[in-house]
């Protein structure tokens, strides 16, 4: 069941999220169309991660509606599975399965979730490992790779499921500086290929060059949403200005 191309791929309508008494998301409204690249930034604790984690149901939203490519996220396992099949995610801490080789990391979900036969799963795995430029690491274990390589594997692993949407939750925050660009290069490559992406990051260079829109969040709200040039050159809100002055100061 696929909605037409004109409809937004992701719709969040009046979404609230509470952790106990703490309101992590306040009335979030967001639409993302096919092929759009969105960068989300904001101070820590502002709800950026929580927002994208609601999109693939790693967090359950408390109120409002989330509709992914025509499928509304409800409590039903069927709906959650349908959404997760379309949404890939990359985490700050890579989260590669430590007890599996790189190739197996890329194959396991294909085999279990998509029921892809082993040989074909391996071919797909190798295709995406080549795409992130580390096919020679296929038979190593994650611990034997550098942080940058592990994160590229994590991206390849998500791509193996052929998602419509890719979510990135601070993908370069846990990396040593010299490894950041190798991961950003893969993400830029992906963006150029037309992947729909939501990226939580503090890499403002990436935001400026790749994003169609930049979203600034603070205290659980979307404060400002603009094209990168407007966002960086003429921010409207005081909170955005303050944040940008802090993050661009160094």
């Amino acid at each position: 069941m696929s909605a037409s191309d004109a409809d937004p791929l992701i719709q969040m309508q009046n979404v609230d999220k509470f952790f106990g008494d703490f309101q992590a998301l306040k009335n979030i409204n967001l639409e993302v169309h096919r092929g759009e690249r969105i960068v989300v930034c904001g101070p820590s604790g502002s709800g950026k991660s929580t927002m994208i984690r609601c999109i693939n149901r790693l967090e359950e939203h408390s109120a409002g509606r989330i509709i992914i490519d025509g499928n509304e996220l409800t409590d039903k396992v069927k709906d959650i599975d349908a959404v997760r099949r379309e949404v890939g995610m990359v985490f700050q801490s890579f989260n590669l399965f430590p007890h599996m080789t790189i190739a197996k990391n890329l194959m396991i979900a294909q085999q279990l979730v998509r029921k892809t036969p082993k040989g074909q799963a391996r071919e797909i795995a190798m295709h995406y490992l080549e795409r992130v430029k580390i096919p020679e690491q296929a038979d190593k274990y994650p611990i034997q790779l550098s942080g940058g390589q592990q994160q590229r594997v994590a991206i390849a692993r998500a791509l193996c499921m052929q998602p419509e949407i890719m979510l990135f939750d601070e993908p370069t925050s846990a990396l040593d500086p010299e490894m950041i660009s190798e991961v950003l290069d893969v993400m830029i490559d992906l963006a150029n290929d037309g992947m729909t992406m939501i990226v939580v990051t503090h890499e403002m260079g990436f935001a400026r060059s790749v994003a169609d829109r930049v979203i600034f969040m603070d205290a659980g709200e979307i404060v400002e949403e603009a094209k990168p040039e407007e966002f960086f050159d003429n921010p409207v809100h005081e909170r955005t200005k303050l944040f940008l002055s802090q993050i661009l100061a160094h």
């Binding site: 693939n56 790693l58 949404v87 890939g88 995610m89 985490f91 396991i108 611990i143």
Partner: protein
């Protein structure tokens, strides 16, 4: 005080003749205890109170009472109940060895389930989230992510428990079983030479422990191969 070497040379083979029974108690109890532990673990992590609570009570009772008392209750206590004498378990509970195995299994199961739970809790939350994000079901995540990692994490503590169980099998000698310790006690009763006999017996248990320790070390090395930086 004299130390009779000849007596040691003479009695060690006798004690070793009980190794079969000691091994039988150890292997069967460890196996049944592990099955019980897995069941208790699944109850504990089911997230359902009506499974979790009974498991917690069970674990509390069996960790909260001496194993010797548990052996006595099974051996002396159970036969008093007619429904036990009439049950299909009677052929097992009629035999001292059966009683020892039942008591040891019930006891070790309680400890091992908590060891396994420690392993399960040690599996990084992020890994399970990665599994969810890839669309894996709860069952698939448990089988392919949680279990292999938890087993690796729990192994050192588990080997500790198996070694401890080896020593607990010596308690079976209190209910007439002729395991290594049982035989040693008989020899002591005949020779009045506790020093020689019990020291040689201690050395036999230590040798046994060494074998167990080495075996678990090999398994740990194999299961932990992914945790080494050099291939």
């Amino acid at each position: 005080m004299s130390f009779d070497l000849y007596l040691i040379v003479e009695s060690v083979p006798l004690m070793l003749s009980g190794i079969g029974i000691t091994l039988k108690l150890l292997v069967i109890s460890a196996f049944l205890g592990l099955l019980l532990a897995i069941l208790l673990l699944l109850m504990r992590i089911s997230g359902k109170w009506y499974l979790d609570w009974p498991a917690q009570v069970y674990i509390y009772v069996f960790r909260g009472t001496p194993i010797l008392v548990q052996i006595f209750i099974v051996y002396y206590g159970f036969p008093q109940f007619e429904f036990i004498r009439d049950s299909i378990f009677w052929p097992i509970l009629r035999e001292p060895a059966g009683c020892a195995i039942v008591a040891l299994s019930l006891n070790t199961g309680a400890y091992v389930s908590e060891i396994l739970r420690g392993g399960v809790l040690g599996v990084g939350k992020g890994l399970l989230e990665a599994g969810s994000a890839l669309g894996m079901s709860a069952r698939q995540k448990f089988i392919y992510i949680t279990t292999p990692i938890a087993v690796r994490l729990a192994l050192p503590a588990y080997s500790n428990d198996v070694i401890s169980l080896l020593k607990s099998t010596a308690l079976a000698s209190t209910i007439t079983i002729a395991d290594m310790t049982g035989i040693a006690r008989t020899i002591v009763a005949e020779t009045y030479a506790p020093y020689e006999i019990f020291i040689s017996m201690a050395i036999i248990y230590m040798a046994f422990t060494w074998v167990l320790q080495k075996s678990f070390g090999l398994i740990e090395g194999y299961l932990g191969r992914y945790a080494k930086r050099e291939a």
